[in-house]
């Protein structure tokens, strides 16, 4: 099984070029993070739902992801319980709470869900390799883009390698327990994984040099800006401005 999953499809968002989608995701992320207040949050939520609709995400998958996210947020809410009940633990004279627990909780849940829906619609709908090339097209450092691309390429391979090592341990009767011996065997297994990956990296370096690698690859750094993608990028900039405006009229 691959641990790199993405959501293929034929929606309008899928046709927008990866550069434009990455750009829009970053712009909207900044807007949603910085803009405060109920109206801005409302606007961000509506926008996220619209994008999810435009990308025609499978609802089952969306549900799974959002349930997992809200379980994490629910755990945080549990830890906020003393603050919600107004316990004296929180209200010390040195640190005064900036808002009450409920508004904090509301912001957390609303923003968290909106942002995750945004990424699912814009970024999870492209294959991870295209995302790496989009980073390059948006003039992020070429070394970072290459690091990302190579990592994406080899994550699955190393995952399989680890499963092989783990299976070999299982055949020899290893069972994970919370004791020193387990930790030692895990350490040795991880060491083996790292050594194998380093040996493979040496071979990759040679293969890359054979193909003209001199510190960077001639990755196409010119983005493809079609009319659709320009419209999309401009539209998301306008949406970001609108979110800021909503925060301002608070």
């Amino acid at each position: 099984m691959s641990c790199l999953t993405w959501i293929p499809g034929r929606s309008w968002i899928h046709r927008v070029t990866p550069e434009a989608r990455l750009f829009s995701a970053l712009v909207l992320m900044v807007a949603l993070t910085i803009a405060e207040g109920p109206w801005a949050a409302m606007g961000g939520g509506v926008l996220a739902v619209v994008l999810v609709g435009l990308a025609r995400l499978p609802l089952r998958l969306l549900g799974h992801v959002l349930i997992r996210l809200n379980l994490v947020l629910g755990f945080m809410a549990l830890l906020l319980l003393p603050a919600l009940c107004g316990s004296s633990l929180v209200e010390s004279p040195a640190v005064r709470p900036s808002g009450n627990g409920f508004s904090l909780l509301g912001r957390m849940v609303w923003k968290g869900n909106a942002m995750v829906m945004l990424y699912l619609a814009l970024l999870a709908t492209m294959d991870p390799m295209a995302l790496g090339l989009a980073m390059r097209a948006l003039r992020l450092p070429s070394r970072l883009a290459l690091l990302y691309l190579l990592t994406v390429r080899y994550v699955d391979l190393l995952h399989h390698e680890w499963e092989r090592i783990r299976r070999a341990m299982g055949v020899r009767g290893f069972r994970a327990r919370a004791d020193r011996r387990t930790f030692r065997l895990y350490g040795h297994a991880l060491g083996r994984l790292f050594l194998r990956s380093l040996e493979r990296a040496e071979r990759i370096v040679w293969a890359m040099k054979c193909r003209g690698f001199k510190g960077h690859y001639p990755l196409s750094s010119r983005g493809r800006w079609t009319t659709d993608s320009i419209l999309f990028a401009v539209g998301s900039c306008l949406a970001a401005v609108l979110i800021f405006a909503l925060a301002w009229i608070r």
Binding site: L73, L80, M108, L149, L150, T151, E161, F194, A201, V205
Partner: protein
């Protein structure tokens, strides 16, 4: 060790991003071009390792191994963990993009600090196996503990209401520190036996 999307205040998230960008830039500058594939392989390996469940007492924890990353990668820990965290945010929605800056600082700063401490400890005198084990244990455990403290700090700086939450999370991570230390120590001694000098000489740079 991840702060979820929407939890941090705008100021904290933004300053986290700025500081991380500086860290990533520094890490990329320190990296030889030929070290990029090696760093990428190690990033993939750390990503895989973060999926491993290790039993502690009645429950499970998942490995972070930031101390090991600091020992093996040095400053390149910043770009490496940035890629790993980005993939985790994208694929599993662990953490998130807006909190990625702070999450990266929380993990990479302790890793690099303890990586340098480890190298310093190894340089001073050619110690035996015990010394190697001890320093690796310290790096593994120390980096997780420092990360836990920084996480609590980030939550507290975000909103004082998170005081109890931050302390509880720090306490939870404090438990997994010794386990991380043990596994890091065993991995480093294993690597030193098979590839002498790999960890001591500053990893894969």
């Amino acid at each position: 060790m991840h702060i979820a999307e929407g939890v941090l205040s705008p100021a904290v998230a933004a300053s986290g991003w700025l500081a991380s960008a500086a860290g990533i830039y520094w890490g990329l500058r320190c990296m030889e071009p030929e070290a990029i594939p090696r760093t990428a392989m190690m990033t993939a390996a750390f990503f895989t390792a973060s999926l491993i469940q290790v039993p502690i007492g009645p429950g499970h924890t998942h490995l972070v191994l930031s101390g090991l990353a600091g020992i093996l990668l040095g400053p390149a820990t910043f770009p490496s963990l940035a890629v790993a965290l980005f993939l985790q945010a994208l694929l599993f929605q662990f953490g998130g993009l807006s909190s990625l800056g702070v999450n990266l600082l929380i993990m990479a700063v302790p890793a690099v600090v303890f990586g340098f401490l480890f190298q310093g400890g190894m340089r001073r005198r050619s110690g035996g196996r015990g010394r190697l084990w001890g320093f690796a244990f310290m790096a593994g455990m120390g980096s997780v503990w420092l990360s836990a403290l920084m996480q609590a700090g980030a939550l507290l700086a975000s909103d004082p209401t998170f005081r109890v939450a931050g302390m509880t999370l720090a306490a939870i991570h404090a438990v997994s520190g010794p386990v991380e230390g043990l596994i890091t120590a065993f991995t480093v001694t294993f690597l030193e036996e098979l590839r002498p000098g790999l960890a001591k000489r500053g990893g894969i740079r």
